[in-house]
Structures are given as C-alpha cells and as structure tokens.
C-alpha cells in the first residue's frame, strides 16, 4: 500500500498567497468560503482521500473493473468508498445551492478534487464526468429535466456520463452518426458510443447518460448535433425508477492505465431505440458541450497536478528509505539513503517545483473562472472570463504533460524497483498517460491557445497577463536577496521570449496558419513555463514576506523560496530556447511530402 497525504499546507498557501482567496470569497454567493471553512474542508477531504481512496488505488489497478453478463463490477472497496464520498456531501461542493449543491467556489472545489485525483484517479473519474453532466443540465436543461435529474446528480445518488465519442468521431465530433428520432414528447436514440467513462458501474441505482446525436433532418456537420438526456432506467413521475431503457454496455476497453475506471462501449437502441430527452434546443448540442469545456479541461489539467503530486510523494518516500552507495563527500562513510545523492535531489526538486507551479497555475486559472461567474461588475467578470479562456488550454496541456513527465521521473528515482509493478510507481505513469489525450488532445489545446485565444483577439487577453508578469519582474527587483534577483532576471527573459513569440503568432497566425500550428505545442509549453514561473515568483514574494512573522512556519516558507528559485533557474531558461522552434519550426515540420514518411 502506497500512502498519500494531501499537501494541505501548499494548497492553503497557493489559495491564500498566490491566488488570493479573499478575491474569491468576497464575491457574492461565495461568502461561506472563509479561511476557517476552507481549512475545515481541506482537513476532512484529506481524511477521506488518504484513509479511504488512496488505500484502494493500487488494488483497484490490479483488479480492474470487469463486465459480467452486462453488469460492471468495480474493484473491491470502490462501491463502499463511493457511498462514503457521497454521504459526506463531497459530490455537491461547487454546485448550485438551489438544487442541493454546497455553492462553494470552484477554486475550493479544485483543491478538494485534487485530493481525490491524487488518491485514486480511477475512482475520481466518475465524479469528474458527473460534473460535466450537472453543468450541462444546469446551464441548458429545461425545468422539467432539472427537477427530475439535477438534484440526484448533484447529491451523487445517481451519476452522469458524457457520451460524445464514436469510432469514426473522436477529436472530430462533426462526424457523429448516432441517430435521434422525434416521438411524442421525447426522442428515440440509437447508435454506438465508445470511451464512455463509468458508462456502466455498480455505485448507484441509475446512470444518466448525456448523449450527442443527430436528427435525420439536421444540417450536416457540427451544427447538426443535439444533446440528449438518456437515463439507464426511466424515471416515473414520482421519482421512482421505472423500465430499463434500451441501452447497454457492450464491453469494457482494455487500457494502459486507469484500470479501475470502467471505460464502456455503449449500445443505444438495440430494439426500439432508447428514450431520450432533449437538452435545450435541437442542433445546439456542441455549443452546449463547449460551455462546460473550460471546467472539464481544467479538471483534466488538475489530474496532471494530482498525479505529479502522488508520484512525487512516492518517489520522495522511497528516496528517503532506500540506502545505496556512500555520500560523495564521505569516501569512507556508510552507505546513505539515495536522497543524499545530488542527481536524486535534482529529480525530486524537478518533480516538486513543477508540481507546485502547475498547482498554482491551475488554481489561479480556476479562480478567474469564479470571478467570471460571480463578479458583480460585468467588466471584471469579462476580464475573469478572458483570463480563464486564455489559461484553460495551458492548464490542460501543460499540467498533463508534466504529469506524465513527473510520473516518469518518479520511476527513475526508484531505479529498477520503479519498473516493477508491485512498487506502485509504474501505475502513476500508466494512469497519467491518458490525460494528454482525453478532453481534447494536447495538440488540440495548443491550436486552441494559438488560434482562438491569442490570434483571434490580437493577443489582447495575453497582453493583460504579460503586463501582470512585467509588474512582478519589477517588484522582484526591489526585494532583498539573491533569490529574488535571480527569479526576476529569469522571469524577465522568459516574458521577453513569450511576448516575441506572441507577436510573431499574431502577425502570422491568420496569414500562414500552417506555420503557426507547426509551433503551437512549443508555444503552449513556453506559455506554461512562463506563467508557472510567474506564479512561483509570486509565491516566492509571499514567502519572503511571510518570513517576517516569527509565528510562521519558517521551514515551509524557506522551502517555498528555494523551490521557486529552482524553478526559475532550471525551467524559465527553457522558455527562451523555444522561440526558434515556434517561429521557424514550420520550415521543417511540414516540409517533407507524405510519401517521404
């Protein structure tokens, strides 16, 4: 069993000092998110994560979810854990109080959800997908649909799924073929969906599928797709469960990771067609899906942070206990724990600093979403929305790439033991590997960043962020100590490069989109490193300021400062090195003809 304990101190520090929770908790409707309340929530969530969810992560991976006679059995302990999770009220943290939600800020929900994802990513996927269903219904569902389904999806009594992908329609949802036929008051749905996370399971009595399908008279392509609620069991007017709907789980995929999470192939309408209810208006399904994409993508980015944290904790514990070779400075000494060896330290510091930077970025981006949703001043809300829109692809892609990298470094720290499944380090890499793929591949995120978020507004939203970064570079110059000077110089150079790359993209993105797309992934990485470095710099400033208080935890603040300096020294320089690949990558990336491959 590999233990996990939530990094509550860092979470709290990021929330209070980097994100500025007071900006969030002062928003109307978020008054409950006081520091005491947030502390209490983090403490209790950690208990569930570390005592209930983490202990069944490894066994869940080994056992996997299985399909027997059309029924999915989740691994031992999962059902009971779900009950505890649901009874604790954890499913409803960020949702609308009008339908039974707790109405807490998304920023707080993200910190809590990081714990579920770290403790047991396979388990946490169920509620992550449910969240998408809740949002789609909250935003676009009719009052009837809301009154029947929303309360139970929010409480977790039922779970929701997202049915988008079909064999021929992956990243390109325009190719969806699942059919919807109008029938007095409802629709009949038939077709096959794949990659349906928790499409079938034994946690709850009912499962509510959100299904994208096409009416036969719909316009072709992306504008002809509608969104439907298709319950596993039909619901009687009194709320009790009625007939089984015409849908079933055909099989479960065999995957590289997240084995405990049942990934279903779903068949709708084997007989007369599954009964479905339209969400919103016909042919607007894709548009509805995109309204919740920000949260969903932030959620996947969060998985990158979470898996990095879990892999770091495991590598750290192993490095402290594994004794091998003498200390370099003590030729005649006894063998020491490998954490004494500089290269092992480098790996641990890499994992630690990247995890902290990605956490800061994710929470910061989500706080912008809270401001967008709740700020009473429309101009401020719009600014928040622009910031959230800009950062969403960066959070999703940069954090998940780091998740894979850090899980891999975690294995390296273990040496040969990391390659052995029983150690548990390998699971993190296998689990992490899906995150750069689903919810829009990281390549799609990079294009989204370049074309929709930067080129489209001429770099305006990015400019607002860059100005903030410049302010931090200046502020650092006036603070004492070599660390602050080094961070200031490192961040300054990274921002220079990022601005140059942005200018180049704005100038060339529309004219030669092929060229811009060739360097898009590098640009996203540069954006992630620089923004991560910027937020680590803010963390360093807050840490230095905090050190003046004799009652503060000096060891923590000292570590924060050094970790921020490490990030500035080791990673910020990479930003500038990406400039040429961004502006000149197109010269070779697309130069070969197809038959030269």
């Amino acid at each position: 069993m590999i233990p996990y304990s939530a990094p509550i101190q860092d979470m709290r520090f990021v929330l209070n000092e980097v994100v500025g929770m007071d900006r969030v908790s002062s928003l109307p409707g978020y008054e409950d998110a006081t520091p005491d309340m947030v502390d209490a929530i983090l403490d209790e969530a950690n208990k569930l994560a570390s005592n209930v969810l983490a202990p069944i992560n490894f066994s869940g991976d080994q056992e996997g979810a299985v399909l027997e006679n059309g029924v999915v059995r989740t691994p031992k302990g999962f059902k009971e854990a779900y009950r505890q999770y649901q009874e604790g009220g954890w499913n409803s943290v960020p949702f609308d109080p009008e339908h039974g939600g707790q109405g807490l800020p998304w920023t707080v929900a993200m910190a809590v959800q990081e714990m579920w994802q770290s403790a047991n990513m396979s388990f946490a996927l169920c509620s992550m997908l449910n969240q998408g269903a809740v949002e789609a219904l909250t935003e676009h569902g009719s009052d009837d649909l809301k009154s029947i389904y929303l309360g139970k999806l929010i409480s977790g009594e039922w779970t929701g799924t997202m049915n988008l992908t079909e064999p021929q329609a992956g990243s390109d949802l325009a190719a969806i073929r699942t059919k919807a036929v109008r029938e007095n008051g409802h629709y009949r749905i038939s077709g096959q969906k794949i990659y349906i996370t928790y499409g079938e399971h034994d946690f709850t009595d009912n499962i509510i599928h959100m299904v994208l399908a096409r009416l036969n008279d719909a316009p072709p392509g992306i504008k002809g797709i509608s969104l439907f609620v298709v319950p596993k069991f039909l619901v009687n007017p009194d709320g009790s469960l009625g007939d089984r709907n015409d849908l079933r789980c055909v099989s479960l995929e065999h995957k590289l990771g997240i084995h405990a999470s049942p990934t279903a192939v779903m068949a709708f309408g084997d007989n007369d067609g599954a009964i479905g209810y339209l969400v919103g208006e016909e042919n607007r399904g894709i548009e509805y899906m995109f309204t919740m994409m920000n949260n969903a993508r932030m959620g996947v980015g969060l998985q990158g942070v979470a898996i990095s944290e879990r892999a770091y904790q495991q590598a750290r514990d192993y490095a402290k206990g594994r004794v091998q070779s003498r200390d370099m400075t003590d030729a005649k000494g006894e063998p020491v724990a490998i954490i004494r060896h500089p290269d092992v330290r480098r790996m641990l510091m890499t994992m630690r600093s990247q995890t902290e930077a990605a956490r800061a970025l994710t929470y910061y981006a989500v706080s912008a979403l809270d401001i967008a949703k709740k700020h009473p001043d429309p101009a401020e809300a719009a600014k928040g929305q622009a910031m959230a829109d800009l950062l969403t692809p960066v959070v999703k892609a940069w954090s998940t790439d780091l998740g894979v990298e850090n899980a891999s470094i975690g294995i390296q720290v273990h040496g040969g033991m990391g390659f052995i499944e029983e150690t548990g380090a390998a699971q993190h890499l296998r689990d992490a590997r899906i995150t750069p793929i689903y919810e829009g591949t990281n390549g799609i995120q990079a294009n989204d960043l370049v074309f929709r978020k930067v080129v489209r507004d001429g770099g305006a939203a990015a400019g607002v962020l860059f100005a903030e970064m410049r302010g931090t570079v200046e502020a650092l110059k006036h603070l004492p100590g070599d660390d602050m000077a080094a961070i200031s110089i490192g961040l300054g150079k990274a921002v220079d490069a990022l601005e140059k790359a942005t200018t180049w993209l704005v100038e060339n993105g529309k004219r030669v989109p092929q060229a811009a797309a060739s360097g898009a992934a590098h640009y996203l990485k540069m954006f992630g490193i620089t923004t991560g470095g910027f937020l680590m710099a803010r963390a360093a400033m807050a840490a230095q300021q905090g050190q003046a208080d004799p009652n503060a935890d000096q060891r923590f603040l000292d570590a924060k400062l050094i970790t921020a300096r490490f990030f500035a020294d080791q990673f910020l320089p990479q930003a500038a090195s990406l400039l040429t690949p961004i502006t000149e990558g197109h010269l070779t990336v697309t130069a070969l003809s197809e038959d030269q491959f």
């Binding site: 006081t34 005491d36 209490a40 209790e44 009874e87 604790g88 009220g89 943290v93 707790q102 935890d553």
Partner: protein, 276 residues
C-alpha cells in the same frame, strides 16, 4: 437524549519541534487541536445520538480561540456548543476547572435534562485525568471511567451497561443515568466530517458563557479557586543502573536461591553485614 461532551483545546504535541541549537520547545506555528482522548468520547456520544436521537452539546472552558475546537467538534456532528470563557477562569487547576464545567452543565441541565456527560480520559498536556471524575462527584453522577464499549442504554429503565477496562480484565458494569463516562483510547475512531456538518459548524452561533452566566461562587474558579501549587518543574534523571534479569530453572525455591545468590554477588559486603 441529551449528552454533554467536555473537550479541551491543546497544542498538537506531535508537531512541537525542539530548537536544534537552544534545545527549547519551538511553539511557533504549532496548531491547536482537540485533545485526542476527547475525540473517543465525542465519537461515542455521536454514536448514541445516531442510535437514540437527541442532541450532543460540546462544552469547553478556555480562551476565545478555543472556539475553533468547538466548531471542529460540530463539523463532526455535535448539535451545538458552549464556550465558557472569562479572564477570571485563568489559572484554574483541575478542582476549579471541574467546578466551572459543572456549573455550566447544571445550566445546560436546566435547559434540557442531561442524561450523559462524556469527558476525555485525560488530556495530553495536563495528563491528570481528574476533571471528569471531579464533575461526576460534584454532580452526584455515577462515574464510568476507562470505558472500552457501551453495551446498552435503556432509556426506559434509565440504565446504561458498559465494559470497563481494569487491571487484569474487563468489568461489565450496569449503572443508572445520568452518568459521567470517559472512553478509552482506541475504543472507536472519529468519523469524517460531512460537508453539511461543516456548513452547520460554520454558521451555528456558539453559546458564549462567562462566570456571570453560570458560576455561583467566584472564589471557586481561576487562581483563587485552585489550591494546587506547582512548586517545581524538573526533568527526572534517568537511573544510572539498569535492572537485571535473573534467570533460574526449577521451582520457586530454585528461583529464590538464584535471586539470593545474585544479591550476594552484587553486594559482596552483604554476607559480612548480615553476620554482624
């Protein structure tokens, strides 16, 4: 059923560090927690509430910052909370503390009759284990200390049956209600707080009581009411000598003979002294 649980806020001794140079205790940033022994009593009280209904009131005497511990207790499910706080209470020993707490419990009893009072077995900072029994004596309640398990509560006959751990075994005791109980550590484990309870804990106003609210005799609280005098605090010196294990085979007389031999070996002059 009305249950009162007395708790105390203490520094988290697990997180106290020793300064590497001065070897003094570093109190900075040490969080305050609910005395861990109190949690076993609180959990047991909550279980009784789950079974029989009613309410659990948590009560503490302490400085205003002790509010955090009461709210924490409510986030686990306690119904409401009383903070007994007054400068006049400062410096109370266990006698004065049990007097003040008893006064508060009497006032709670007037509002709704109290069936059970739970206290922690002892605290991790004072370690006296005197306050609970003190309250029981003052309230003329049966006291059931070191309880490992509550077997049954009969609200009709007003009886409670518990298993009490004692030296050499377990006593099964039946007693009348109301009673004062201290739970043994490990007898249960504290539940996780739910979101609903956390919100309730944050929103429910505490009852803030001071000496005027419930204390009749001001001379019995605080330093004035505390006859205990701490004359000296010292670290006991470890013994220089270690105990010796004497091994002997055979019956009692062989073992006695081995012990006597060892005495004579250890104290060579002993034989001489005895003869004299």
């Amino acid at each position: 059923m009305h249950i009162v649980v007395c708790i105390k806020q203490v520094p988290d001794s697990a997180q106290i560090r020793i300064h590497p140079v001065t070897n003094t205790i570093m109190r900075q940033g040490v969080p305050a927690i609910i005395n861990p022994y109190d949690l076993f009593s609180l959990e047991e009280a909550l279980r009784l509430k789950d079974r029989f209904g009613g309410r659990v009131t948590v009560l503490t005497m302490g400085p205003p910052m002790a509010e955090a511990s009461l709210r924490k207790a409510m986030s686990f499910g306690a119904t409401d909370a009383v903070l007994l706080t007054d400068r006049k209470f400062a410096g109370s020993d266990t006698l004065a503390t049990s007097y003040a707490l008893t006064s508060a419990i009497r006032k709670l009893h007037e509002e709704e009759p109290v069936d059970l009072v739970f206290c922690g077995k002892q605290t991790i900072d004072g370690d006296t284990a005197q306050v609970g029994p003190g309250i029981a004596t003052r309230m003329n309640m049966q006291q059931l200390t070191y309880v490992a398990k509550i077997e049954d509560v009969n609200l009709d006959s007003r009886e409670i049956t518990v298993q009490r751990r004692s030296e050499g075994g377990v006593q099964v005791l039946k007693s009348r209600l109301p009673a004062m109980i201290t739970m043994l550590e490990g007898s249960n484990s504290m539940r996780f707080g739910t979101m609903d309870d956390m919100f309730r804990a944050a929103r429910t106003p505490l009852k803030l009581w001071n000496k005027d609210t419930c204390v009749d005799d001001e001379a019995k609280v605080g330093l004035k009411g505390s006859p205990t005098v701490v004359s000296k605090v010292f670290v006991p010196k470890p013994r220089a000598e270690k105990a010796k294990m004497i091994e002997a085979e055979g019956g009692a007389s062989a073992q006695a003979a081995a012990a006597i031999d060892m005495l004579f070996t250890t104290y060579p002059k002993l034989a001489n002294d005895l003869v004299r």
